[in-house]
Symmetry: D2
Subunit: 329 residues, 4 copies
C-alpha cells in the first residue's frame, strides 16, 4: 500500500535528567556525544554522523522519564497527512510550533495506542558533521541513534497500529506460549532498512526501556566500556557485552546517572527486501536474548522509566500486563 506520507526513521528522543551538569559529564565526556546547544534546562546533543541539530535532548526534571520519541518524515506536507490520519483515528495530538523544540520546525505530537509519546517532524537546523574529524572523537564513538525500545501492555493492538496505519515493517518478533496459547510477546519494527526503529515489548507499561545508538563495530563498544569504567562509571554498565539472538546485534547496556538506559549497538542487517519473512523467536529460547547463553541481570529485565503525557507533561502511571481470565478468579 502506498501511503501519502513517508516516515524516514527514528531521529531523536528527549529524556529527563535531574542534574544537567552530571548528565553532561556522562553523555559528553563519557559517551562522546557533541553538544550543539544548551540552556538552563536543556542540553542538545548529536552523534558523529549527525548533520542535524540533535539526536538526543536532555531536559531537566524531577526524575528520569521519556518526554518523546521523534520520527523524521520525508516532506513537510507529510505532517498534514499524518494529522488527518490521527484525526480520523481519534488519536490524542498536539502541534509543536517551530522553535518550540530548539532547532526544529513544526512538529506533531501524539500519544500512541500504547501510551507512548511520539513526535513527527520534517525540518531541523543543520549542525557541523564530525564524522571525519577523527582527532576530535572521544574514546566512545557513537555514530547515530538507531532505535527506541518501549514496554507496553497491549502489544497486538499497538503492533497492528504501527503496521497498518504508519507503514512500519517487522524484521523479527518473539512469541510466548505454545499452540493455541501462542501470542506475540515482542516485535522489532522499522522504517529505515535496519532491524528496527522501534521495539515493542509486552510488559508493565507504558514505560521506556532504552535508546539504542549505533557504533561501528564490537571493538568500539568494548572501548566505550573501558572509557566509562575508567571515568568511574563501572556501576553504570548494567549488562555485559554480548550478542543478541534477536537482531543479531552486538551490544552493551549502560544507565545514565538518573537511570535512563542506553544500548550501544552494532552488527544488525539490511531489512528492506519486499519478501522479507520476519524472524520468529520463542520467549523460551535461551539464545534469544543472548546468543551466547548468558542471562541479563534482573534490573535489565524489570526496570524502565515512565513516559510523559504529551498534553500535561505528567508521568503516566504504568499498568501491569492484563492477567489472563483464568488468573483473575
Amino acid at each position: 500500500m502506498k501511503r501519502p506520507f513517508d516516515i524516514v526513521r527514528l531521529h531523536h528522543v528527549e529524556v529527563t535528567v535531574t542534574d544537567l551538569e552530571r548528565a553532561y559529564d556522562f553523555y559528553v565526556h563519557g559517551l562522546g556525544l557533541f553538544e550543539t546547544a544548551r540552556d538552563d534546562t536543556h542540553l542538545y546533543l548529536r552523534a558523529l554522523e549527525d548533520a542535524n541539530h540533535h539526536c538526543l535532548v536532555l531536559t531537566k526534571g524531577e526524575q528520569a522519564s521519556l518526554n518523546h520519541i521523534a520520527y523524521r518524515v520525508s516532506a513537510d506536507e507529510d505532517l498534514d497527512e499524518l494529522e488527518r490520519l490521527f484525526t480520523k483515528l481519534g488519536t490524542k495530538k498536539k502541534w509543536i510550533q517551530p522553535g518550540e523544540e530548539r532547532g526544529q520546525g513544526r512538529a506533531l505530537r501524539i500519544q500512541d495506542p500504547g501510551g507512548l509519546p511520539v513526535e513527527f517532524f520534517f525540518e531541523m537546523e543543520k549542525a557541523e558533521r564530525m564524522l571525519q574529524k577523527f582527532h576530535l572523537h572521544k574514546n566512545t564513538k557513537i555514530k547515530r541513534i538507531d532505535h527506541a525500545n518501549c514496554l507496553i501492555t497491549n502489544i497486538e493492538e499497538v503492533y497492528r497500529w504501527y503496521s497498518d496505519h504508519l507503514g512500519f515493517m517487522t524484521s523479527e518478533y518473539t512469541v510466548k506460549g505454545y499452540g493455541e496459547d501462542e501470542k506475540m510477546w515482542a516485535a522489532w519494527m522499522h522504517r529505515k532498512p535496519s532491524v528496527h526503529d522501534l521495539a515493542l515489548i509486552s510488559e508493565t507499561g507504558p514505560r521506556y526501556h532504552h535508546t539504542g545508538f549505533w557504533m561501528d563495530d564490537a571493538k568500539s563498544i568494548l572501548d566505550a566500556c573501558d572509557h566509562l569504567a575508567a571515568m568511574g562509571y563501572a556501576r553504570n554498565i548494567e549488562r555485559s557485552p554480548g550478542r543478541h539472538g534477536t537482531s543479531n546485534a552486538f551490544f552493551v547496556y549502560v544507565r545514565d546517572p538518573d537511570g535512563n538506559r542506553i544500548e550501544l549497538y552494532t552488527g544488525d542487517y539490511f531489512t528492506n527486501d519486499p519478501d522479507w519473512e520476519p524472524v520468529k523467536w520463542h520467549l523460551d529460547d535461551p539464545q534469544r536474548a543472548t546468543f551466547w547463553g548468558t542471562e541479563p541481570p534482573v534490573s535489565w529485565k524489570t526496570e524502565a522509566v515512565p513516559v510523559q503525557d504529551i498534553l500535561t507533561g505528567n508521568l503516566i502511571e504504568p499498568k501491569p500486563l492484563a492477567p489472563k481470565p483464568q488468573e483473575t478468579v
Copy 2:
C-alpha cells in the same frame, strides 16, 4: 516527487569468468560466499545475510566482463511502470522470462544512457540464510552486496538520468577543474540509505570497475586479506586496505583470477535524511581517494572490464572521454 515505482537497492550482479572451477575456489573458498546452485555454465552465490537465491552470478565466458547489474523493486507492478518509463525515454530494453535467470521472476533489462547493462526485478526464490550459522562461516565473512562502480564517458547525462527518472539520490560527488571549468567527475548515488548502490566515474567507458560487498568491520577485511594471501591469492590483493575520504568507508580491493574487481567495504553511513546535502570533493584533494594519503596502484586507476550489450551479449567497445574542444585542435 512520488514515483509510481520504488527501486529498493542493488541486489545482484552477473559477471563473466573463464574457468568456473577456478572461480569457485576464489569466491567460495576464498571470499566465503555460499553456493546456492550451479550448472555447467553458471554459479549462483549468496552472502551471509542473504535470504534469497543469489547476490552474484558467475557465468562462463571468454573473458571477464559485466553481464548486468540488477536492482530489486518493491512490487511486481513496478516493473510495468518502469517499462512504460523506458518506452517513453526510448531506452533499449528487453524482458527476461521467469527462470531465465535461475531463481528469479520476470525481469526488465535495459542499456542505460552510459551504456551499462541494468536489470530490474521483483521476485526471487528464497535460500537458507547463514547469518547466525557462525560455525559455517569461512574466515572471509561477506554480509551482503553493497554497490556497483561503473566507468562512463558522459557522467552529467547519466547522473541526471538516474536522478530525474529513477529517483536515485546523491550522497557525495567529486568535481574536477576550478571556477567556470569545474565539472562533475564522479557521483555516489543510492536508493537504500547508504552512501551508494551505484558509483559513476568519468573515464573511458562503458566499463565496469568493481562490485562492492559489505563486511561487518575493518578487522573482518584484514582477516580476508590474511585468508586470501595464505591460499596463494596475495597477488590478487590489488590495493592495500585503507579508508576512503569519499564515503568514509574502510576498504580493500581484490581481483578474481580473471580480473573482475571486488571491493570489501565497511563503515559508511546513513543517508536518507530529506535535507542531506551531498558531500563535495575535489579531484585534487589528496585525502579524497585515500583519507590516509597513500596512492592507489596504477592498475586500480586504469583497468576495468568491458560490459555486455543486453540484446546481443557482445562486449561494448569502450570509448575514451571526449577531449575538450581546445584539445582537439
Copy 3:
C-alpha cells in the same frame, strides 16, 4: 639471585575428559586447536603459534581433573639442577621417561607445596607451525597457551616457594582484610614476561580453576563466542566477555563438556623490568575481577576440578581454607 636453572614458561597442561570424541568436537572444531597425534586414550593438541608437539593433552578418564601442569626449562641439565633442589627441599618427585608422555623427552614431575601436580621438561618433538596458514585457521584462533590458574589453601607458603626456590616473579596480587588483618589472597606469577604463567588463589584446594590461552585481540574472543554458540555450545560459555582489573586482560570463560574451564585471554602487558612493583588490589574492589563492574556467575567462583597425585594418579581430596584461630573456638 642467579639460579643454576632457567624456567622458560608454562608450556602445556594435561587434563582428563570422559569422552575423547566429544572432547575432539569441542577442542578441535570449537576451539580451533590442531591435532598433532592421538591414540585410544589421548589427544595431543597444539595452537596456531606452536612449533612443538602439544600445548594441551586430553586424557580419557572418569571425570574432569588436572593430570599436570608443565613448564619448559632452557636446557636439559636444568632438570638435574631441579632434581637436586627438590631432593633438598624434600619435594615428592618422579622421573617421566622419554616418550612416556608422547613427543616429549625426560621430565621431572613433582607435587608442589600446594598439592598441585607440576612437570618440568626440556625436549619436545617439533610439529608443523600453522601461524601463517591463515586459510586453515578455524573461526576460533588460539595462538598459544598462556597460564594456569590454581586454587590452594596455603597461598603464603606456596607463593614463597615459587618465588624463592623457582625464581617466579610477581606481576600483581590481591589482599583481603585491612590493617593487621591484611593477607595475601591471590598472586599472579610469571617466568615469561607476561602477567602470569601461574595464578594462585586462596580457596578450597588443591583444585584447578582454568587454563588460559592467548588470542590476538578482543574481536577474536568475540568471534570464538559466536562460533561456539552456533555449534550448540552456548551453555558452555560460563562468564561473559569482559576486562579484568587484575592483569588488564580481556577475557571470556568457557567450560568443556566435562567441566574443565578454559579462559580465552588477551591484552595483558610486558612485565620483566627489574624494578617492576607488583600491582596491589583489594578483594573488595569492585573493579578487580571485572573492570567494568559486572559480577562473575556463581559457578565461576565456586567450581573447579580436582588434581591428581603424581605417584598414584588418584584425585586429591580438596580441603577448605583453614579457619582463623578465633573461628575454631
Copy 4:
C-alpha cells in the same frame, strides 16, 4: 652459555628533531604518548604501559638522526660486566653519569661494530602508569616500545657480535642469493621473547630506519591512521597498513615532521623456546615484506636517518654496501 649479565629488552631510543613544539604536536597529540618531563632541548615521553620515565627522548638538533638505542639490563653490576666485555673487545665506549640523561642512572654507551650508538643502563625513575586510565588515552594508543630497526653494511659481523657476545637470539632472517652465493641479508634478534628488539638490515649504513611501538591490535593501528590523517598528518603515513611476512606483524609506518620513522606494530609471537629454529625468508619472496603482496613505497626502501658518534655527537657518514670483489674490477 650462561653470561654474567642479562640484557632485558630494548627500553628507549633518543632521536633528534628540529622543532620541539612541532614534535610535541606529532608525538603527544598525534601518537598519544605522554609527557613525563621537558626542558628547552628535550622532551621525555612514555607509552601507556610504561611505569618508567621514558621510552622515547626527543632532542632538539639540526636534523633528524639517532642519538642512541638503549637496552635495560637486569642488575646494576651487569653494567660493570659489560664494560669488561667491551674493554676486551676494544669497543669504543663511554660512561654516562646518573642524571646526565634525565631520569636515568649511570649508563654505558658504545658504538657497535656496525657503527650504531647503543646504551646499556639499569636504573630509571618511576612515572605514573596510564594503562588503566582509559579515559585519558588518546585515539592513538601506543602500549610500549618494541624494537629498533637499523641499516648496516657488515651484517654478518654485527650479527655474530650480538649473538656471541651479548646473547641476542634470532627469530627470523632473510637471505639473498642462491646456493653458494646465499648470504644473510637481514636478521630479527631479540632479548625479550618477542620477534625482535633489534632488526639488522644490509644497506648503506650505519643508518637508523625506524622505531617500532607495540599496539594492542590491528584496529588500534587503523584508528591511529584516522586520527593522524584528521590532524593533517596524512602525508606522514608513508606505508599503508599491512601484514609483514617476516614477524607476522600487522603494521603501519609513519614519519615524524623531521622524517624520523615510526612503526606501529602488533601481532608477532612468543619466541623464547630453547629449540626455536629461526624462520628463513628469501629476499625474492613477494610475501616476505608484505604478506598480502603489495609493495612498500620507494621512500620506505631508500630513506633512513644518520646515527651519531657516541663521543663527538657528530653524524656518521653512511657508506654503501661493499661491492662484491668481482664487481670492483
